[in-house]
Amino acid sequence: MPTTFFGWIHLLLEEYGSLFLQGAGTTMFIAVVGTTAGFAIGLLVAILRTIPLKPSTPHWQQRLVQGLKTVLSVYIEVFRGTPMIVQAMVVYYGALQYLRLDIPALSAAFLVVSVNTGAYMAEIVRGGILSVDKGQKEAATAVGLTHWQSMTSVILPQAVRSILPAVGNEFVVNIKDSSVLNVISVTEVYFMSKSAAGTYLKYFEVFFITAVIYFVLTFTTTRLLRLIEKKMSGKDSYTIYGSQSDPNAQIVFTREDR
C-alpha cells in the first residue's frame, strides 16, 4: 500500500484510470445531448410562447393557444423551481413504479437533463427575442411570413447570436450538474469516483482526481466556446454580454438606427 498522497494518486490512476475516463466520457455525452436537446426545446417553447393572438382568430384557437402557453409557463416554473437531483428521482422512480417502465439510467439522464435545460433555455431565448428590434417581426409579417417562418428565418437567427454566451454557460453548468445523476446510478464521472473511492476508502485522493477531471473538462469547454463566440459575433456590431467565458464581456449593446 502507498504511504504518500502522490503514491495513492498513482495507484488509483493505474487501477481506475479507464473507469475515470469512461465516466468523463459519459459526463460529456450527457452534457452535449442535454444541452443540444435543451436548446432545441428552448427554441420551440419560445416560438410557441410568442404566437400572436388577434381578436380575429377563432375562439377555440385562442383557447387552445392560451392553454398551451399556460402549460409551458408551468413547465418552466416547475423545472426551474426544483433541483435536478429531485427531478431525476421523480422521473426515474415514477416511471418505474407507476408506468412499469424500467428506463435505462442513461436514457433517464438524457431526458432529465434535456427537459431541465429546456426550461432554462426557454427563458434565455425569450431574452434573446426581446433584444431583437420589434420592427423585424413587423417587416416579416408585412412580407407575408407566418409566425413560424418569421421566427425561424428572421427573429431566432438574430436572437441566438446574442444569447450564445448564455447557451455556452448552460453547457458548462450541465458538465458539472450532471454529477447529481449518480442518484439514479448513471455511470458518469462522479458515480465512477464513488465506486473507486469505496474500495480503499480513499475519498480525498479519489475526489481530488475527480475535481481535476471536472476542471479540465469545463476549462477546455470554456476556451472552445470563447473561440466560437468570437467567430459568431462577427464584426463589432455588438459586444457579447453577460458571458461567463469571456472575462472582458460587458453589458454594452450598440444598436443601429437608434
Binding site: 431583437v132 420592427g135 413587423e138 417587416a139 464584426k235 456590431s237
Partner: protein
C-alpha cells in the same frame, strides 16, 4: 376624386388603443394606379391607418376591402404579398444580406424557386440602384441604401399596392432625394401607392391626390395643386402654412 374600380376601399374605419380613439371613422377609396400622399400632423393616425390596411393592427370597426375582398377574411400570406409596406426604420432583416432580404418572402410566401427569386430580386435591386450591394449586410449600408433595398424587397413580392410610412423621415438630409427619386420612378411604372410623408415638395410633384388627416379623421382630399393652393378647411390651411414655410415652398 374616386374613379374606376377602387383597389382599396375603406369605410367607417375605427381603431382604439385603450381609451384613445385613434381612427374615428375613416372613409378612403383608392383607384388602381393612383398615387395618394397622406399628410398631417404627427399623432393624427397616419401610420395606424396604413397598419390597419395590412392588418399589422386589427381594426375595431369598419371595413377594409382590397379588390372587393374584406382583408380580414383574406389569408395573411397572399394579402401581404399584394400589399407591400416600406417602413420609416427600414426594418431590413438583420441576419440576411440585401439579396436574401428580397428573396426570403418570394420563396416562403410565393413559393418561388431560389433561382427564380434571385432573378427577380436582382431585377429590383438593379432598379433601385443597389445591385452592386447585393451581398452587403444591412449594417454595412447607409440609411438611404437600406431604404432602397427595403423598396426592392417590397417590389420583389409583385405587390398591387405599395404603402410607405414616412420613408425618408429617418434619413440624413443628403439621402432623402435618392429614395424619393426611386419612388417617383415607381409612379411611372403605374404602381398604386399610398405614401405617408412630410416632404411637401415631393407630395406636390408625385401625388395624384393628397389626403390631409388630422386627429383620426380625413379632413380634406384633393388634387395637389388645388389642396396646396386653396385648402378649404382651416385645419388644412394651418398645417400647410406651418409645414410649407419650413420647407421653403410658397405659402398658400
Amino acid at each position: 376624386m374616386e374613379s374606376g374600380n377602387p383597389i382599396i376601399e375603406i369605410t367607417g374605419l375605427e381603431k382604439r388603443f385603450g381609451p384613445n380613439t385613434v381612427l374615428k371613422g375613416v372613409d378612403l377609396s383608392v383607384s388602381k394606379g393612383q398615387v395618394v400622399c397622406l399628410i398631417g400632423p404627427s399623432g393624427s393616425g397616419k401610420s395606424t391607418l396604413l397598419r390597419c390596411i395590412n392588418l399589422l393592427e386589427t381594426p375595431d370597426a369598419g371595413t377594409i376591402c382590397f379588390q372587393g375582398q374584406d382583408v380580414t377574411q383574406m389569408p395573411p400570406g397572399p394579402l401581404h404579398a399584394k400589399i407591400g409596406m416600406v417602413f420609416q426604420q427600414f426594418n431590413l432583416f438583420g441576419n440576411l444580406n440585401a439579396l436574401d432580404n428580397c428573396v426570403l418572402g418570394q420563396m416562403k410566401v410565393l413559393k418561388r424557386s431560389r433561382s427564380k427569386s434571385e432573378e427577380i430580386a436582382q431585377k429590383y435591386l438593379e432598379r433601385v440602384g443597389m445591385l452592386p450591394y447585393r451581398d452587403a449586410r444591412p449594417d454595412q449600408l447607409s440609411g438611404g441604401q437600406k431604404q432602397r433595398v427595403a423598396i426592392a424587397r417590397a417590389l420583389s413580392m409583385d405587390p398591387e399596392v405599395l404603402m410607405f410610412d414616412e420613408p425618408t423621415s429617418a434619413l440624413d438630409p443628403e439621402m432623402v432625394d435618392e429614395v424619393l427619386s426611386v419612388i417617383k420612378t415607381l409612379k411611372d411604372g403605374g404602381l398604386t401607392m399610398l405614401i405617408v410623408t412630410h416632404e411637401m415638395a415631393f407630395a406636390r410633384d408625385a401625388a395624384d391626390r393628397i389626403v390631409f388627416m388630422d386627429a383620426g379623421q380625413l379632413v380634406e382630399d384633393g388634387r395637389p395643386e388645388a389642396l396646396f393652393t386653396h385648402p378649404e378647411n382651416p385645419r388644412t390651411r394651418a398645417f400647410l402654412s406651418r409645414s410649407l414655410r419650413g420647407q421653403g415652398i410658397g405659402t398658400p
